[in-house]
């Protein structure tokens, strides 16, 4: 029996959840999904095209909406893919070290932000390093309610709240990090 394949069926699965910025260990809020594998990793993000044994017949489109990278797709050999990102490749091997300060801490630390793949990744590392809680980012409230809020100085010298811009943009513009006390950070929250 044919299932009707229409554009609306495809579009209704915008899957906003997949693009929501959230803190917390990867995969904990998405039952059945594994953390999306890094693009360069040899291991596949097996569930990103989740042909789950128990999925309903009409359900096959929902998995296509997750645009996480799938190994070997599109089918372009790696030597072709790498040709036009040579600068990126160089940058990746170089590492981007930024100073991290925390209000009240006696000395600064330095971390290589290139090592992290996403905001949750970075923030949990910071929490670990400074033994603090940074909490969950939300577009409206920033890190409101948390003890600390992460901020960064960007290329223009402005102090920005960590989490507002796409990760790649953050990596390329972040000059240093400062973990502010929550009370002070209130002013940085988006309205």
């Amino acid at each position: 029996m044919e299932m009707a394949r229409t554009v609306t069926c495809y579009e209704s699965d915008l899957n906003l959840k997949a693009t929501e910025l959230r803190l917390g260990l990867p995969g904990t809020d998405e039952p059945g999904k594994q953390p999306s594998a890094g693009i360069k990793s040899n291991k596949r993000a097996f569930n990103t095209v989740a042909l789950q044994p128990d999925s309903e017949k009409g359900d096959q489109h929902s998995c296509s909406a997750t645009k996480a990278q799938v190994v070997g797709w599109p089918p372009v050999q790696s030597y072709r893919k790498n040709v036009f990102q040579p600068k990126k490749v160089e940058a990746e091997t170089a590492g981007i070290y930024v100073k991290v300060s925390m209000d009240g801490a006696p000395y600064l630390r330095k971390i290589d932000i290139k090592v992290y793949k996403s905001y949750p990744d970075l923030l949990s590392a910071l929490e670990d390093m400074f033994k603090c809680t940074i909490g969950v980012y939300s577009e409206r409230e920033g890190y409101d309610g948390s003890e600390y809020a992460p901020t960064y100085e960007d290329k223009d010298g402005d102090w920005m709240l960590v989490g507002d811009v796409p990760w790649e943009m953050f990596i390329s513009s972040c000059k240093r990090l400062r973990i502010m006390k929550g009370s002070e950070a209130k002013g940085l929250g988006c309205l």
Partner: protein
Amino acid sequence: MSGDDRCSGMSEDDGGSSSSYLTNRNGAGDSCSTFPDLVLENVLENVLCFLTSRRDRNAASLVCKSWYRAEALTRSEVFIGNCYAVSPRRVTHRFRGVSSVVIKGKPRFADFSLLPPDWGAHFTPWVTTMAESYRALEKLYLKRMCITDDDLTMLAFSFPCFKELVLVCCEGFGTSGLAVVARECRQLRVLDLIESEVSDDEVDWVSFFPENETCLESLIFDCVDFRINFEALVQLVARSPSLKKLRLNQYVSLGQLHNLMIRAPQLTHLGTGSFRLLENVAHSVQEPNYVSAFAACKSLVCLSGFRDIFAEYLPAIYPVCANLTSLNFSYANINAEQLKSVICHCPKLQIFWVLDSICDEGLQAVAATCKDLRELRVFPINAREDIEGPVSEVGLQAISDGCRKLQSILYFCQRMTNAAVIAMSKNCPDLVVFRLCIMGRHQPDHITGEAMDEGFGAIVKNCKKLTRLAVSGLLTDQAFSYIGQYGKLVRTLSVAFAGDSDLGLKYVLEGCPRLQKLEIRDSPFGDSALPSGLHHYFNMRFLWMSSCRVTRRGCQEIAQQLPRLVVEVFNWNEQEGRDMGDYIDTLYMYRSLEGPRADAPKFVHIL
């Protein structure tokens, strides 16, 4: 350009030939022959020399024992489509006087990281056996094989008449191995490294070629990802008067290219290195006359390279455009305008590889000028799914309108329509290869929202010569029904993220009698479809299914029913120690005379 067309060898394992092994196992050295028999065999041998096509030879070998023997003695080119289908010893036993060998190893999806490393396809057992039996070996063509430096060394020392080495998509060796080949193979005419991974052992292999005049006709090393000794290369070119094909890597600059070109005006195939000057060359320095260097190469018909292109230098190639039959811009990030300035001078172009940076507009220009185009490949400059693409159905339509002689197309895009694909099926009846990659998974016709079934259906219906097909976009079982119904000549089929149910696979297995290579990934085909191919699997080179819905049990049943089939299954996650339930990650099955291979790594289970 891809090297695929170069092997005019003969098959070990095209349809029917394996049965010639089964019936005539003890070919040579039978009971004593009478005089008439000897005369017959003599005559046969002399006649069979003229048979070059491997299919014809396979057919001849099946006639009777003496034909089998005669054919075996006179076959000089052997083609092994799957290195695990037959053992080296069996080959050297049957064919004694071989001068040219083609061996293919890993399945094609290995190119896209779908095969774990260390899977296999080792050249060592082959070179070891051939070193004993094929002292007169002259040509070797290897594709997707793992070759070590030791293998290359053995090759260099074992075959005194060795002339041609072509390595396509191979890996495992480095400059040390190349150096030995360069030094020892004094009659070397061809050294082609194509899309292979060569490691830098810091041995200056180019300096190892003989110091006097060489026989070199072809030197291709554009895939070598590190500097070579340029001075040595210049001298090598200078003492290689027969050199016709030269493809440089990106570490050779435009200025250096000039140096080479003026020493080799007889070139017919040239792959430039990086198409720009070195950073530290001041522009006030007298720039060499690139235009006259190109103009001096009156025989140039094939151009490629153009890495890291500085488009301002493109006009240098104008003098050769009129005679160009093959142009590879697939590493050149140029826009429509820049392309147009070149392509308008190339009316004789038959093969054109390019990046989608030229946009639909660039393709329209190609369609307007290149009326003789046979092969087109459009690669994505940005191989991602979730972006706006520069080429679309507009470009495809234009090509189909302008290039009526098209035989082969590979087209990456983000958007497509059934209408454009149908148009191509009608405008280009000579199509033999149709590979369309709509990069977004499950993408429908972006105007009608329908599945791409009708488009691909039209291709198999209207293109009566079609032997290779790659499908993409949103496809239902209907598309596969069309393929099974009309794709009677299809030999290679690539499927990804397509189909609804097991029916899709059934249609293909039941409907396509010429199917040889079936590679499927991430499609909902399961166990119940597998038996549909039982009558046919032994005629195929292989079946690959990854991330589909086949279970171990389903594969086991096939393995039991067809003992001559090697059924390999492996799970990626098994390496990580996780249990993925009943479905296996990858099924790779192929016919073989040897049974389960001894060199399978731990993660491969042979059922």
